[in-house]
Symmetry: C2
Subunit: 345 residues, 2 copies
DNA sequence: TCTTAGCACTCTGCCGGGCCGAGTGCTAAT
DNA sequence: ATTAGCACTCGGCCCGGCAGAGTGCTAAGA
């Protein structure tokens, strides 16, 4: 089972996969025979295909239809057979322009990119921003939001802006707030939020009584704002592209499952989990992904990073019959682009 | 055509509409006959239904099926026949709790509410936040985001936080920035963003040379940040609910149109336009809405406000065969809730 | 030993006919 | 004005037959 293929077998497998990617229909021996550079009759191809089926790379939806690739077949194709196409210059330029246009901050960059990526690929594009936990603070600032609420605004490396309201009994003067700001910035800049949280807790012990009320206040406010757990944000663009895929358009059940998954943040997070930490593009085919109940989709995703730290991931979601040779370079390039753009934000 | 109905006609129309809302199937005379409190034979009902059809309230999908309501029929139902149900206490409580939980600001409030509303109604819920143009500033603040970028953070009444990056040649010291902040806040607080923009332009003329470089700088920065046009933000929850509607589940074309519309911000904005300014719940049935090409959906929406100004709208999107008697109170209550919650944020 | 032509077989998709059920419109009787 | 009765219409479903695509097997050829 699933042993190494000889040259001819590999060639046939590749043609079957590519034809199936294009047409979404079972592929017959005649079709392959015509496409082979080395002329072989349909009968021979049939023998080869029967072998491939035995090895687990192909299967038949029913006795006397053509063959379609199995998950294993797709996996072999992606690993060994896929012709790595270059990304056309036009697409590179488009993507570059899109990421450069994000003016209001990191969110904007990421949204533009995912929007365009979904358009170019005709699949759904997902971006995970796990901004909080790994990024250094550029500045932190407390603003009065109302008489009994204070707003904490943190600007993170990469141009992300994170804010949170803190309930607070009134009575803090504006000048005091400003002093607190100065103090907080002093200890905070350059740290990540969890690091800052640790530091605050330490400071509070160390200088418990020695420093004035105001600083204790500052620390308390900071701690309060940072207690909440930090999960990632998710953006999805091009959901409707899913409907264009014949395998989903014909099966309402699958469609429902997928669109429901899009509405659950944690499902999406799980789908892109693997990509987050890795440098290279990750491909998860069908039931390879960690989410139960979505065996009909593939995910092609890559992490992006700012400097040394991985701060998010971007990926495309489509049917198992995805156009991997086109999609992998697209995702790869976009992730690189995000990394370099965000680093300078 | 579409004249006033006598009592009997109205009663039949109402039963037809309600049965159709429930079953999504054409309604026959026998069904109505059984449901009528005043016992009438199917034959009589048939006559009445034929009249209703002549008047434009009903139609037949084909010669020998039951009747289904037309858009006009639904409109008559909504205007005159609909029994205004009370919202169950449990749902009110749920909604109340959801809106109160929005801690990180206005966005959070609105998201929670729309999420819950879509769950309760089983339709798609849309919220439009046209935050910028009408809301007074609580505070405004410039922060250093990187060596050549400054972040403007504006906190608006209602707890909305708006931020924008401004490109800026380096060289502005932190103390200078703080002074600018003080100055900006002085002139800005209490104004809406467009008002502030006007004010800034005036100030610049007036005190052109008299004030120091720093203040000119402040004004310039402020002006720069406010040039961009201010369109609303859109949140959509419960898209997948659309798939549960049989009229869409069976017609891929309609489904595609609707899901594509969900991806276009401006389409959604247009759909909820009418509701924004009005106090009451707006119902737009089928082709009544201003968006061409979506004659199969109805929108039930209401504006919400903060103090005097309308600042957004919330609505449900579903098939024409929507459960109006349930949905209208839901939307109404949620809009009120948003108004009162946001006012105190 | 590998390849291939030929052939029988299988399965799907499609078309047409017949039947059933639901519902209508009309007519005539109450 | 209401209603029972009846003929009619139409969609949905099931069935059988047919065409097409594709297979597996066998036996012949290189």
């Amino acid at each position: 089972m699933t042993s190494v293929l000889d040259d001819r077998g590999a060639r046939v497998l590749r043609l079957v996969v590519e034809d199936y990617i294009e047409t979404a229909e079972p592929v017959g021996s005649r079709t392959i025979s015509k496409k082979m550079e080395q002329a072989l009759s349909p009968a021979t191809i049939r023998n080869i295909m029967a072998d491939l089926e035995e090895m687990g790379y192909l299967c038949q939806p029913h006795t006397s239809a053509g063959r379609i690739p199995t998950g294993v077949g797709f996996r072999y194709y992606v690993n060994y057979l896929l012709a790595r196409r270059q990304l056309p210059r036009s697409e590179r330029d488009l993507l570059k322009k899109a990421t450069e246009e994000g003016l209001t901050g990191g969110d904007d960059v990421v949204r533009q990119a995912s929007r365009l990526l979904s358009n170019l690929s005709r699949y759904a594009c997902v971006v995970v921003v796990s901004r909080f936990s790994h990024q250094a603070l550029r500045s932190i600032s407390l603003l009065r939001a109302s008489s009994d609420r204070i707003l904490l605004v943190a600007v993170l490396q990469g141009g992300w802006v994170q804010h949170r309201l803190i309930e607070e009994e009134p009575g803090l003067l504006n000048e005091e707030l400003e002093k607190i700001n100065g103090y907080l910035n002093e200890i905070a800049v350059g740290l990540t939020l969890p690091q800052l949280r640790m530091k605050i807790l330490n400071e509070m012990k160390k200088e418990k009584v020695r420093y004035d009320k105001l600083m204790r206040k500052a620390l308390l406010l900071g701690a309060k704002a940072l207690t909440e757990s930090l999960s990632g944000d998710v953006y999805i663009e091009g959901r409707a592209n899913i409907l264009e895929q014949p395998e989903f358009a014909e099966d309402m059940q699958k469609l429902k499952r997928i669109l429901h998954a899009f509405e659950e943040k944690h499902v999406i997070l799980r789908l892109l989990d693997a990509a987050l930490e890795s440098e290279a593009v990750q491909v998860s085919i069908g039931s390879e992904n960690t989410v139960e109940g979505l065996p009909e989709i593939s995910v092609v995703a890559s992490g992006y990073h700012q400097g040394e730290v991985a701060t998010g991931s971007i990926g495309l979601i489509g049917p198992v019959r995805m156009d991997y040779s086109r999609v992998i370079p697209l995702v790869e390039y976009t992730a690189h682009l995000l990394s370099s753009t965000l680093e300078h934000r």
